[in-house]
Amino acid sequence: MAALGSRSSSVLSCQNVSVRFGAFQAVNNVSIDLAAGQTLALIGPNGAGKTTFINAVSGRVSLAAGRIRLGDADITNVPVHRRAAAGLGRSFQIINIFDQMTVLENLRLAAQSRAFGWQPCWRPVSAWPALERRAREVAAMVGLEAELDLPVTMLSHGKQRAVELGLALIPDPKVLLLDEPLAGIGHSEIEPTMELLQQVRKGRSVLLVEHNMDVVDRIADEIVVMVGGEVLLRDRPSAIWNSAEVRRLYLGSEVAGHA
């Protein structure tokens, strides 16, 4: 059986994943696996296919080829919501939250999906206090205690990022896919958000797409460099920064822009 052959230490394993949009190959034969407890950064220039790869893993786009395994289960053809229920959390590059709700309502709604198989309709949601308890717990974790009753549209960009992350953290997922969790965040908020990421990655496996090389350097155990839909190389951060190939193909132009 295939299961016997797979590496038991990897929680997420993507083999030869390809994604096509019409004739355009956005992701080409990418194999990446994520070990338990590991934080793996995925970097690469704009249009490299990082978001598309995250979309493939979370189930938003279908694969032209390849297989994806989460733990022992093959999730290649499993729909988004079932992957999420199986312990795959994600945040989006462009803030993607329930925009006509308060912070509390956002987080409580996320807590609901796992609490019931079939969402009940005969009592107000307040009849299940555990939902709100979980929402408050996560709000405290991401620094939103003071904003619980505010509509999310009234929050700063950084705080909205925190809601985005909170939604992903509600079910306490084993695997977390973070697509540029610092995108659009103000300078003063970078440091606290980084601390938060440090805390969040403890005890779980994280695939982190990030353009801020400072952050990548401090958080990532390993780095995968993607260019033109393909994996260029994978190594420890120090080795990546010293690679002539990376400097030439990617960092030469990018790092200057982000310094």
Binding site: S58, R60, P79, V80, H81, A84, A85, R90, F92, N96, I97, F98, D99, Q100, M101, T102, E105, R108, L109, A110, Q112, S113, R114, A115, F116, Q119, P120, C121, W122, R123, P124, V125, S126, W128, L131, D149, L167, A168, I170, P171
Partner: protein
Amino acid sequence: MRQVKHSEVLTVGVLVLLFAAAPFVTGDEGWLYLAALIMTWSIFALGYDISFGLTGLLSFGHAAFFGMGAYAASWAMLSAGLPFSVGIVAAIGAGGLSALVFGFVGRRVSGLYFSLMTLMLAELISIVMTTRLRHLSGGVDGLPGVPRPQAFGIDFFNAANFYWVIFALFCLTLAFCAVLKSSPLGQALRGVRQNAVRSEQVGFNVGALRLTALTLSGCLSGLAGALLASLMMYVSPQLLGWKMSGDVVIMTLLGGSGTPVGPVIGVTLVELLREGLSATTEHWYGLLGVIFILCTIYLPEGVAGLGRKLWRR
């Protein structure tokens, strides 16, 4: 937030009181009939708003659920001789089942394509019922003599007595919609309307939630259809036509979708307008159109939205 909730409870209370007081204020059969008609259509509009206001599914085919409910009740009572209560259950079932079928057929489409698909499916049912199933539907002439309840020795053919049956179901519908909205299911549906991508990502089966909403919406539409058939003591394929679907959309939007009172206000306005103007001019529907257009421009949240703004001030 809390203030809005307060105003909602208050307006719903006032509405219920108004309808409860009507039979004591006037014994006039015409007025009672009108009030009963408004409550019946309100059930339809409240049901419609589960699909549109709560879940964000713009359907142009709700007449099918409404009409199938009306026919299911009529068949149950006329052909099978079953009691009114069974007829009502049959109507709720038929409305829900038709909606389930629509939702299943349209499970892969969304937005405008979903709207057009519901419109076409409903027209298909309407045409089949008027032509191929003439022997069942009564064709364009419809079926006369749809009965009203017979129980406890009360004469429900008396307008005032039947009024209370409709009033009770109207109150139940209002209560159901209010509880649904604040329930976990209601919150999940609200989430689907606001952001389906995020809903999926936090683990909701968006397709199943949409189907559930449409089915519940269909159940209430079917109930309203049965009540209308009993109220008019007549059922015809007209109830299945696109004009019915259009009316319920207009009423809901005019009154204000997404609120418990909005649909009721919309229904009341349209019915009063029909009552007041249809005798004097044939073009009342055109006038309604003008009012509707003005409303979409100046009152995008409907009349109830205007009320909410004034309340907050």
